[in-house]
């Protein structure tokens, strides 16, 4: 068991974890932040995407101990207790989610992406989504939602 200290959505957590505990399991089951979803545990589907020290990562491909000392952002941190962000609102208006299981990962990837590409082209957004599976929407509404959110910034 290894002691770690991780900040998630601005709150500091000190926990003792097994070395092999996945970061995704740590977030979901140790911290109870179940907004981050697990869809494949081999880094393909993108459901578990979070932001670690400013960069989006697949939390199923990290161990919790590797995140020791890091700052994480998860979907729960986007709006906090307040109003939905422009990106979240755009997802709602465009019907860019159905079952909602892939949505938190795509939101976190999009937050990272829009930080780097404030005025993205459609092709860039489609390229971003090539790393995420969504089986409900057919992707197009997600592309539109991210472009809408970029336009509002």
């Amino acid at each position: 068991m290894i002691p770690i200290e991780i900040t998630v959505n601005g709150r500091r957590y000190r926990e003792t974890v097994p070395a092999r505990l996945l970061l995704s399991d740590f977030i979901r089951h140790t911290l109870g932040l179940t907004g981050t979803h697990v869809g494949c545990e081999h880094g393909v589907c993108g459901c578990c995407t979070i932001i670690l020290d400013g960069t989006s990562i697949r939390s199923c491909l990290f161990l919790a101990v590797q995140a020791d000392g890091s700052e994480l952002r998860t979907v729960e941190g986007l709006a906090g207790g307040g109003e939905l962000t422009a990106l979240q609102r755009a997802f709602r208006e465009r019907h860019a989610l159905q079952c909602g299981f892939c949505t938190p990962g795509i939101l976190m990837a999009a937050v990272d992406f829009l930080g780097r590409h404030p005025e993205p082209s459609r092709e860039q957004v489609v390229g971003l989504l090539s790393g995420h599976l969504c089986r409900c929407t057919g992707y197009e509404p997600i592309v539109e939602a991210i472009l809408d959110a970029a336009g509002e910034r």
């Binding site: 097994p18 299981f101 989504l129």
Partner: protein, 785 residues
């Protein structure tokens, strides 16, 4: 003035929680405190005798609670019943013989999942390999593997074929694939020894008939299998209908070990051991007159359902039975249906459910006939489409189509696709040596399945000695609380379709409130929800039948509210209108709030009209009409409502690589009245994505020994955003006379039509008919070589 909420493109109420990460999916819940974690030991071979299964080393591992083996499953449960008498019984785990790679052999239960998986490695298994059968035609010739063989004949297909100017004879294969929801299966099972009952939380998609199937396997009356589905489910597309087998498996583990058991399937397990669509081989004979009239159709179908006939199979084969003639006027139809088992994971519901398989064969046949008759495929379709003035239309096999102008839809699609220009462009491109093709598909999209169609797998003589099955019903409750709050409860167990939003729209219209004033409870609990054997989400039944149950319950509450208000306002109930949160006397300013009406019903029953019972709530059941059991001639109205879809695909094949580029795709639907056009568009687009997936990329592949080659998302390739073709859609709205709101299902149509339309377009581009799905670049390139 009353507001009309049904029909508006209202964004969803569900989204607020989901976008915040506050959804409640199965693995987010902790419904049974101190549950232990299960891991499933699975067969590594496709067919093998389990000579030895020794868990003793696993039991020594600290943290391991116990093991449930196939022998325990055999002792504690019965085989699952299915629609046909199958020589090979299906149980929740393999007993003595494993019949597919990935089949459960044992369940290890431990204090945490990591330890449970460690312990799996310690279970000693000795396999004695047996010869696997992977070829469905070999299985069809093997008595023990042929689970069902039925022949159907409507009209006089032999004479019609004999007199035909052209007979097309072709074989079509449809691949096995899966909609692969992103949330895998999950079950928490808690056996109560004191009452001999099981409570299970599972991301299942209803109670459906499968609650009864699970209860039968457990040897429990339905009341002692309490099944609860969480409010959110991470997609299903039919695939999660098989969670029931794991409800039984984990229920038995909980019973044997005396602890609540929690099992969350991982993706590798899901791809190997959950479910998928059937693989189908269809030999078609189709007779045409010289001017293109389709005179007769004969199908010879071999349906591969995997290792066991697992309920509700062989339903995939019969879901479309009333639509064997598709969208066409042909009156002479025959079919031979053989259901075979092979050493693959068993199949089940999957978006389209029999439609993609049927229409790939039928619509490819139409395209081949058009070319041989030197007719444009759209023109051939138009000459054969059922006419608007023939609706409602009874098909030769007993289907009852409800409404729609199919030819007008096709014309819309051709116009949106700029069809004539596209044909000219194609011909020009061809003269330049490019491989451009155009494909058309016209399909009827059934929704709301007749619970009786599965009995077609049995002969009329067998059926005569059994209790008939028919219909398709759903229940719902609406209640108004003492403070005027409105709550709707449904048993649809949706998986992201937006049921809560549409239910709120329906109830808002009836009670004269805003949809935001209506709370919709989507958790399903077989002990407390209003449900029936057909309850759940499958066969696109929500907008037709589930919405109908909500409407009926809301109508009853509204009628009672008007009666109470009329008593208080001293007027006739017919003069009371519910609008703006109030009950008002029509044409006057007099009125009281709905809250006040509810308050009287709860707080002051003495003020109610004489004889009226207190409270303000109603539970209603609604059944779709016309869904009789199959008749003695094997005719059946297999679905209650029928939409229509006309598609045009334009593709170019890259000669150097074999890559298929979809340049344009147009899909025009008539799904009756759209209850929420925003959500309808989402269903159509999602259904299109699944259809494009199986047309272009997706396939579950086993090698000759029955090893799964597509066991991860690195190998089972789902379409991602860059690969998804462009889509243009159009809608007509011909209300169904058979559903309370005029709506028809629309979430499966494009999954049925796209493989056919893209297949036709690629065949047109290549100038050859021996194409196979999915049309991946390597396979198309081989055809070009």
């Amino acid at each position: 003035m009353r507001q009309q909420w049904v029909g508006r493109p209202l964004p969803r109420f569900e989204d607020e929680a989901l976008l915040r990460g506050a959804g409640r999916y199965l693995d987010d819940l902790d419904p049974a405190p101190n549950a232990c974690h299960a891991a499933v030991l699975r067969s590594q071979l496709a067919h093998a005798r389990i000579a030895k299964l020794d868990p003793s080393a696993a039991l020594e591992l600290p943290g391991v609670v116990g093991v449930l083996t196939g022998a325990d499953v055999a002792e504690l449960s019965r085989p699952f019943p299915a629609g046909v008498d199958c020589p090979i019984p299906y149980r929740a785990a393999a007993v003595d013989v494993a019949r597919y790679a990935g089949e459960p052999l044992a369940v290890v239960v431990a204090r945490d999942r990591y330890v449970a998986e460690d312990a799996l490695e310690l279970v000693e298994v000795d396999y004695e390999p047996l010869e696997p059968v992977l070829d469905p035609l070999t299985a069809a010739a093997t008595e023990r593997l042929l689970a069902s063989d039925r022949s159907f004949r409507y009209g006089d297909p032999e004479s019609a074929l004999a007199s035909a100017h052209l007979v097309v004879r072709e074989r079509f294969a449809f691949p096995r694939w899966s909609g692969t929801p992103l949330e895998c299966y999950g079950v928490v099972a808690d056996w109560d020894e004191a009452t001999g009952s099981l409570t299970a939380w599972a991301n299942f998609q209803g109670p459906f008939t499968l609650h009864s199937v699970a209860a039968a396997a457990l040897g429990l009356p339905g009341s002692k299998l309490r099944l609860i589905t969480p409010p959110d489910s991470g997609g299903s597309f039919g695939i999660k209908s098989t969670v029931y087998a794991y409800v039984v498996l984990m229920g038995l583990a909980s019973r044997k070990l005396g602890v609540p058991v929690r099992w969350i399937e991982d993706r590798l397990e899901h791809l190997a051991g959950s479910s998928g669509a059937t693989a189908r081989i269809t030999d078609v004979e189709a007779g045409f007159s010289a001017d293109g009239e389709l005179l007769a159709l004969r199908y010879d179908v071999v349906e591969d359902v995997g290792a066991y006939v697992r309920a509700p199979e062989p339903a995939t084969l019969y879901r479309m039975h009333g639509s064997l003639s598709g969208a066409y006027r042909v009156r002479h139809v025959a079919a031979r249906n053989r259901v075979v088992t092979t050493n693959r994971c068993p199949t089940g519901l999957n978006r389209g459910f029999g439609g993609p398989q049927l229409y790939f064969a039928l619509e490819r046949t139409m395209a081949i006939a058009a070319r041989r008759l030197s007719l444009d495929p759209a023109e051939l379709a138009r000459r054969n489409l059922i006419r608007a003035d023939e609706q409602p239309y009874r098909t030769p096999s007993g289907g009852l189509y409800d409404s729609g102008d199919y030819a007008a839809c096709l014309d819309d699609a051709l116009r949106l696709a700029r069809y004539e220009e596209r044909v000219a462009e194609r011909d020009r491109a061809r003269s330049e040596g490019r491989l451009v093709g155009i494909g058309v598909a016209c399909i009827v999209e059934p929704s709301i399945s007749n619970m009786g169609y599965i009995t077609l797998a049995r002969t009329p003589e067998q059926r005569a000695g059994e209790l008939p099955k028919s219909g398709n019903a759903e229940g719902a409750s609406v209640q108004v609380s003492p403070l005027g709050g409105i709550t709707v409860r449904v048993a649809t167990a949706g998986q992201g379709q937006g049921h809560a939003t549409v239910c709120a729209q329906i109830v808002a219209d009836q009670l004269g409130v805003g949809p935001a004033d209506v709370e919709v409870i989507t958790e399903m609990d077989t002990s407390t929800s209003a449900w029936t054997v057909s309850s759940g989400s499958y066969s696109s039944r929500f907008s037709g039948v589930s919405a109908g149950a909500v409407l009926r319950a809301a109508e009853r509450v509204a009628a009672k509210a008007r009666r109470i208000a009329a008593h208080l306002l001293e007027c006739d109930p017919d003069d009371v209108e519910l609008a703006g949160g109030r009950a008002v006397v029509t044409g006057s300013a007099d009125g009281i709030s709905l809250r006040r009406v509810a308050g009287v019903a709860h707080w002051n029953p003495e003020a109610l009209p004489p004889g009226l019972e207190p409270g303000l709530q109603a539970t209603a059941f609604h059944a779709a009409p016309n869904l009789d059991p199959p008749d003695a001639d094997d005719r059946i109205a297999s679905s209650a409502a029928h939409g229509f879809v006309a598609d045009v695909a334009v593709v170019e094949v890259e000669r150097e690589t074999g890559r298929v580029l979809v340049l344009d795709y147009v899909s025009v639907h008539d799904a009756g009245r759209l209850l929420n056009p925003l959500l309808a568009a989402g269903q159509v687009r999602g259904s299109f994505a699944h259809g494009a997936g199986v047309a272009l990329l997706e396939r579950t592949v086993y090698d000759a020994d029955g090893n799964l080659l597509t066991g991860s998302f690195m190998d089972y390739l789902c379409l991602t955003a860059p690969e998804l073709p462009p889509l243009t859609t159009g809608h007509r709205q011909s209300p169904s006379p058979f559903t309370p709101l005029g709506a028809k299902g629309l979430g499966e149509g494009t999954t049925m039509s796209v493989p056919a339309a893209i297949g036709n377009a690629v065949a047109d581009a290549l100038g050859r008919d021996d194409i196979e799905l999915p049309l991946t670049a390597p396979r198309v390139w081989e055809l070009l070589a």
